[in-house]
């Protein structure tokens, strides 16, 4: 990534981000883009959603503006606000408005985390109006034809407060993401870390074991991201078991009994 400041809507990805497709997601995304339909990426954390967005932005040659949503994020944070300079007030576009104007791809990561009032701006953009209401400016911004809205959502959360409302989800073309099948995941680990095939296969096997524990004390098994982390540590000379304990077991849980069990699983492999 370059160090110099460039407004995000002018930042085009020029080097192909490595993405290994697991199904027809690239074709579906492209078709959605051509038809100006917004897209919802569903799936657990660390399974390649962000990487997929980077890859698609590169493919479609559009700037990618990513917003990681959190529980204090309001509609104004997305749309924009007035700032005071020396003796006047100036309007500053929020990331969503920038993307709408510039015809970029706006990716709202973990959208259920954001405050509920954000749906007010997301809904009109996500149906065929393709409008961004800018209440404070008293106008509605029409999205440029290249603009695309994408949101992500992790259905694995058990919190009943973090479900995506029907009225929202029914506006989107949904793409389902999950951890890649073993051979593919192994390939990803090899490419991302430079680890040899055998070692990568061991990591993938460990991931499967932790995924078996989902629902029995773990909210999620180890994600592809965690495997990549462990692989990087191993490439840096950390012994495999120690790398996995640090990058995988302790990233998954604090519970002593579960930690002991995952450590035992790690020990079976190496």
């Amino acid at each position: 990534m370059e160090g110099h400041a460039l407004p995000p809507e002018e930042h085009f990805i020029t080097v192909e981000p490595y993405y290994e497709p697991t199904g027809d997601e690239i074709a579906v995304f492209e078709a959605a883009y051509r038809n100006r339909l917004p897209v919802l990426l569903k799936g657990p954390t660390g399974c390649g959603k962000t990487r997929f967005m980077e890859h698609m932005a590169w493919r479609l040659k559009r700037p990618l503006i990513t917003v990681s949503c959190h529980d204090d994020l309001t509609a104004s944070d997305l749309v924009g606000r007035y700032l005071i300079t020396a003796d006047q007030t100036v309007w500053v576009d929020g990331p969503l408005a920038r993307a709408v104007r510039a015809g970029g791809i706006c990716y709202l990561d973990e959208v259920v985390e954001a405050r509920k009032d954000t749906t007010v701006v997301i809904h009109p953009l996500a149906d065929d109006r393709r409008m961004l209401p800018m209440e404070k400016l008293g106008l509605e911004l029409e999205a440029s034809p290249e603009f695309m809205l994408a949101i992500s959502y992790n259905p694995g959360y058990q919190s009943v407060l973090k479900e995506l409302k029907q009225s929202t989800r029914q506006r989107f073309v949904a793409l389902e993401f999950d951890y890649p099948a073993a051979p593919l995941e192994q390939k990803i680990v090899v490419k991302e870390t430079g680890l040899d095939e055998a070692r990568a296969a061991q990591l993938v096997k460990l991931a499967a074991m932790t995924r078996n524990l989902k629902g029995s004390g773990l909210d999620e098994g180890a994600s592809t991201r965690l495997l990549v982390h462990a692989g990087k540590l191993m490439m840096d000379g950390i012994p495999p078991a120690a790398a996995c304990r640090g990058a995988i077991a302790r990233a998954l849980t604090d519970e002593p009994e579960m930690l002991a069990a995952v450590d035992e699983l790690i020990a079976t492999i190496f």
């Binding site: 606000r81 007035y82 058990q158 919190s159 009943v160 699983l265």
Partner: protein, 691 residues
Amino acid sequence: MNSSPPSSDVQLSAAELEEQLDELLEAAFTPGRRTNAIAKKLAAHPAEVQRFVLHWCAVTAQTHSQVAYLFARHVLEALETMDRPDVQKWLLHAMDLYDRQGLYPAIAVLKAPKDFAGAGVDHAQGVYLEEITGVLELFLRGLSGRAMKLEPADPPHTDTSTLFLPSRLGRFPAKDDNFRLYKALAVHQWAQTHFGTFFPDLAAELRAYPDPDKARKLYHLLETLRLDAVLARHYPGLAREILSLRGEALPAEFQDAAAELEAPGAGPKQSLEWMENLLAQPLPPPWPYMGELLPERAEAERQQRLRRDKAALQAALAHMQPGAKPASFSLRRENSANEVAADFVLLADGRPVVLDDEVKGLLHSIDLDLGDIPPDYLTPAGGGGYAPAGNPKEKEMAPPEGGYAYNEWDHQRRHYRKNWCTLRELPSGLGDAGYAAEVLGRYGGQVGQIRRVFEALRGEEKLLRAQKNGDDVDLDAAIAARTDLRCGREMTDRVFTRQERLERNIAVLFMVDMSGSTRGWINDAERESLLLMCEGLEKLGDRYAIYGFSGMTRIRCEIFPIKTFAEPYGPEVQRRIAGIEPKDYTRMGAAIRHLTAKLKEVDARTRLLVTLSDGKPDDFNDPYRGVYGIEDTRMALIEAKRAGIHPFCITIDQEARDYLPHMYGAVNYTIVSEVRQLPIKVANIYRKLTT
């Protein structure tokens, strides 16, 4: 001396002890319970010991007064050979047996404390199964992808459903090594079930030899060679540990057998062949992690499991038929090169259908048992099969007097039986007034922590912007307002910020299993969970209600209000919680429907129905205990979900039952295998659910 009650450091006299024991053990009302002699002996012991004995009598008497009495009678003998932590383990072991197997096995353990003490060689460093069951179960679930049930028994063996392990291992001086031995014993048994040791005719084949016992032992040894090699290929770290536990090397005559059986692709039939070849040789001593191979037990269990799996698979297939007409199912096996697990593609009328985890699990289990999935397993349930007594039409009920009528889902006919169940709300009993204080005292620090965590959850402070009035000027809004004014637009008066507690607006209803199967520790854990929850919820401010449920037959479903939404938490509610007791059976569907209706009346943005049960739908002499009950429960949960309620099921399951994912799969659920962790778990689950 003043007349204050004896402080706990004071040694009690025989008379005082007798009085206390009588009260704890309800001796006056129970013929045959004499505390006189016990009290006399105990009087000679220091205050510390007396306190220890009285404490554990009190704890045990809460649920099993007979066990408590036996404990009191034998505890001094136990203390001669064991230290107090071990005596405690001995008692817990007996209570556990009582819960699982009933009174007689528990009596046997309590009457023979010396046997328990002598179970290990190195007393100090022994490991108890109880201590490590949690870790071991998680480990095995991770390794195998399925739940494994662990039970104490000697010798170690498996019936292919349950892994039986000694209740204590003290073979090695170091604790870690004893744990490793436990792990090796468990993995070895799992490997037997997973890699084909118990092929269908094994028991019969072995019986045919003139010395079946030797044949069995030799086959076991040869299979161990094969299985260890399979493990080494897939789990090298694990295999290293196991091999380090092997004792004597095998005699030279076994070298060829080892070479062949350890090669990839070797199967149990080769072990059988080599067994015949080597039968004339003397039998080498077994290795410590082998336990016993008991094919007869495996065979009996296998038959049962196949019947269950077949019915469950057929029921699941009935759900999966794409159209209204019965479909014809077939299977394609993929990935057969995979030694660990085959993958199946299921075709309905020639087209692949998506398999859920339940069906995958069933196919896998049947495949392990039979080496294949016979076509008759793939006929969906429907015509034929189980037919409930009588014609449901005839028995259709008019809404009963003084009760509520609920439909029940008949999965085979795929329709509701109208007003099939009659449900009544009955007053709940009052328990001991001191119970709540005792429990909260026992959980001491954890109660404080739950209160703190829940307090922190309580609608966090939020800064509301653009308010009509408030504590501070909202700069953004003020600037926007001024701009509007300058431009000649109307100026808003919403220019303040205000600090406000965001209302959570959540209502939760806890539905608690009061069926007979919860007797013992599950009931204790439920009551303790509820008390801890109440402490937390009071801090949090969410509206909540608690109802118990039980019943017998469809016309006697019963609901016991413990706390309604309107009622405040207080001593009365605490006594009702204390009074929750195991009653009859579990017709879960009707209870869920009734409480769903209750919850629907509450005006809240988020409504939660949390069920706390041991997950065994059953009823008196009724098909409700089988697939029928599972399907009705599942349907009732789906109905609740459709009604805008979020059901969440917490199941205490020590038996690793396979149908739970299917029964609860449509909604969120969690399985807690360690009863003792339940109270803390429930609070944690609720916290996660609502943030």
